[in-house]
């Protein structure tokens, strides 16, 4: 019986790690810069498109794709920075209006540039198949992705917990007023965080293209999933986002096998329950 759940569980892990690499940037942007960035899914897709267009079936093409994705993410971050800087102090809803507008317009422009087709990268032959996993076939690329994303996650965790920058990030997430106390220009903080968050999304788009590939509906879907991860994970918490992403991955993968009759409802029901339970537990103060 366990055998039936092995592949969905491993697959859910791959999917969850993919969501984490996307959502990490989003949660960082929210936690540190207090920006609700609804264009994040579009940055992911931009990374995917450029990675697909440089992919040629070689390992160099794959590596180049990741670099190009990161570059696309950085550029997107710069655009967002330029757009958001004049808006300081106008609240989340205005940010949402602006970034959603950028997402819509940017998505339309990406479609003009890359076409409306679903695109998938050409992978090196060694990755474009399946491997044996406890007697089952499993896509080679997804297994590699698990390893790469795990390395990324560990590296991120080390940066956040072991470095001075990481300590500052944690301090700011806990208490926004810390930005002032650090003596750093908030505009610099915004620029840095949008650049790092954008680059993360671009890299995720490049690495994730074979799994969640670029196409007309990919941006809203990616945005929605990563918003769920960020909010359930606790708005700004990298560790929380990691756990939430893994959970969402398993809900989407193991969930449809375990509870097929309610599979359409699973994701949003799970999110609502998670948020409400956390809300009730966190209500020590009723000021």
């Amino acid at each position: 019986m366990i055998d039936a759940y092995l592949i969905p569980a491993v697959n859910g892990l791959a999917y969850g790690l993919l969501l984490f690499t996307v959502a990490a940037g989003l949660t960082l942007i929210f936690g540190v810069a207090d920006v609700l960035n609804l264009a994040h899914g579009t940055v992911y897709v931009a990374g995917g498109y450029v990675a697909v267009s440089v992919s040629d079936g070689t390992w160099a093409g794959l590596g180049l794709g990741v670099l190009a994705g990161a570059a696309a993410g950085l550029v997107s971050g710069a655009v967002l920075w330029a757009a958001l800087t004049p808006l300081s102090g106008r609240g989340h809803l205005t940010q949402a209006l602006l970034t959603f507008g950028i997402a819509l317009a940017g998505g339309a422009l990406l479609e003009k540039a890359f076409g409306a087709d679903e695109l998938r990268p050409v992978l090196p032959a060694a990755l474009d198949g399946s491997v044996d996993l406890a007697g089952h076939r499993f896509p080679t690329y997804r297994l590699l992705f698990i390893a790469v994303a795990a390395v990324l996650a560990v590296a991120g965790w080390l940066v956040i917990t072991r470095t001075r920058v990481g300590a500052r990030v944690r301090a700011v997430v806990d208490d926004r007023d810390m930005v002032a106390a650090l003596g750093v220009d908030p505009r610099v903080v915004l620029a840095a965080v949008l650049a790092v968050g954008g680059a993360l999304a671009g890299v995720a788009g490049a690495l994730g293209a074979p799994i969640l590939g670029p196409g007309p509906s990919t941006a809203p879907q990616t945005l929605l999933l990563s918003l769920i991860v960020v909010v359930v994970g606790g708005l700004g918490s990298i560790g929380g986002a990691f756990l939430a992403a893994i959970a969402v991955g398993q809900v989407q993968s193991l969930g449809v096998v375990l509870l097929p009759s309610v599979s359409p409802y699973l994701l949003f029901a799970a999110m609502a329950v998670a948020l409400l339970v956390r809300g009730w537990r966190g209500r020590g103060v009723t000021a």
Binding site: A116, E118, H136, R137, P139, P216
Partner: protein, 393 residues
């Protein structure tokens, strides 16, 4: 001072938007041609590529026939269906109320079709649909050149029953179109004595459109011991399903489908699609004069292969052309006249082979084909394997 300037800019912009809107609503009623046709298709959203194929097919017919239907100059009005009835309804209402079209054509989605069909019936306008659609009770003004959603499954089921030695697993997207497509196959297949491999004997539904990850389902399919899989997917889901199928435990199980590899998705599916057998009412390599002309005309204009979407829209234009041609020259081309003329059309010569409207369902009685994805030189293509049944009676 700055605020005041900004206010002025804002108010001016708003006023301009208003003026433009008014100008647009008031400007161009009536149309410049002898006959005004409204064409609705998804030019944005999930099924944009399908919608563009349809628009291009319709336009191609018009362009290669001197911009005229039955000798009358055509004023074509194209509207964006978007992702469903929420955007399709206003688009169609604009064509009906403002452009005062004489007939409607196109429409990608079943839900959009149902909503626009009601509009057409109410305003007594002929609607020549060119893609999948639900079966509706009253269709006096409704026609279409593609097929009813359950027909591909009906056409391929006997072939699957005869050629697969053992149970078949049925899986499809959880929306009305998916249900219709799968029902056609499952009902026919089980009536012929076939047994589904699905553990509960019911078709497996995957949440639509959010499912991008089919591996958990594919893993499950492999465990049932199915000897073949039958599915219907289009667009993004078709790409993900086929790519993941080839890398899953199910990879060795023969895959049959409706639509699965039609159109732009095939390029994204890549080698993973090779060998998939699928049923359709058209294949670009069909050998008949109408198709040779169509493929030549299409290839001269577009770098991609023609699809059934393009073909059905091309035929929708042909239907309107031939119907209007039967209206005497001294008689005005009205909606009612077009509708009457369509009902009087006999056999239509089409790139798909000849077909005719079923007098009650108003949908084609046509031949269906089995195709298989194979390499045509460097490019993947759906190659004709054999004729299946004639369906639609």
């Amino acid at each position: 001072m700055r605020t005041r300037v900004r206010t002025l800019v804002a108010v001016t912009t708003a006023a301009l938007v208003g003026v433009t809107a008014t100008a647009c609503t008031g400007g161009d009623e009536g149309g410049s041609g002898d006959v005004t046709i409204g064409f609705v298709a998804s030019l944005s959203g999930t099924y944009q590529t399908v919608g563009e194929d349809m628009r291009d097919g319709f336009q191609l017919y018009l362009d290669t026939h001197g911009g005229k239907f039955g000798g009358r100059t055509v004023d074509l009005r194209v509207a964006d269906e978007g992702d469903g009835p929420a955007t399709a309804t206003p688009a169609a209402e604009r064509l009906v109320q403002q452009d005062e079209v004489d007939a409607l054509a196109g429409i990608v989605g079943g839900g959009s079709y149902a909503a626009i069909a009601a509009l057409a019936q109410e305003n007594e306008l002929p609607l020549v649909g060119a893609n999948g659609r639900p079966d509706l009770p009253d269709n006096s003004w409704l026609w279409h050149t593609s097929y009813i959603s359950d027909e591909p499954g009906i056409a391929i089921a006997p072939y699957v029953k005869d050629n697969v030695d053992g149970p078949v697993y049925a899986i499809g997207p959880d929306y009305q179109g998916g249900h219709d497509e799968l029902r056609g196959f499952v009902d026919t297949y089980t009536q012929l004595g076939g047994v589904l491999a699905n553990p509960d004997g019911e078709t497996k539904w995957t949440p639509f459109p959010q499912t991008t990850d089919f591996l958990p389902y594919l893993n499950e399919i492999a465990m049932t011991g199915a000897k073949a899989v039958y599915c219907f997917y289009a667009g993004k889901a078709a790409v993900d399903f086929v790519k993941q199928y080839a890398q899953s435990d199910a990879a060795d199980i023969p895959l049959y489908g409706a639509f699965l590899t039609e159109g732009a998705v095939l390029a994204a599916q890549g080698d993973a699609a090779e060998g998939i057998r699928n049923v359709l009412n058209y294949s670009p390599d069909l050998d008949n004069p109408a198709n040779r002309t169509f493929v030549a005309e299409w290839s001269a204009k577009f770098p991609r292969q023609p699809t059934t979407f393009a073909m059905a829209s091309y035929d929708a234009a042909a239907v309107l052309d031939r119907a209007i041609a039967t209206i005497p020259e001294d008689q005005e081309v009205t909606s009612a006249a077009i509708n009457d003329a369509i009902s009087g059309l006999g056999v239509i010569d089409s790139p798909r082979g000849t077909w005719q409207f079923n007098p009650t369902t108003h949908s084609p009685i046509q031949r269906w084909y089995l195709r298989q994805v194979a390499k045509d030189g460097e490019m993947l293509s759906n190659m004709l394997i054999e004729d299946l049944a004639t369906v639609g009676n």
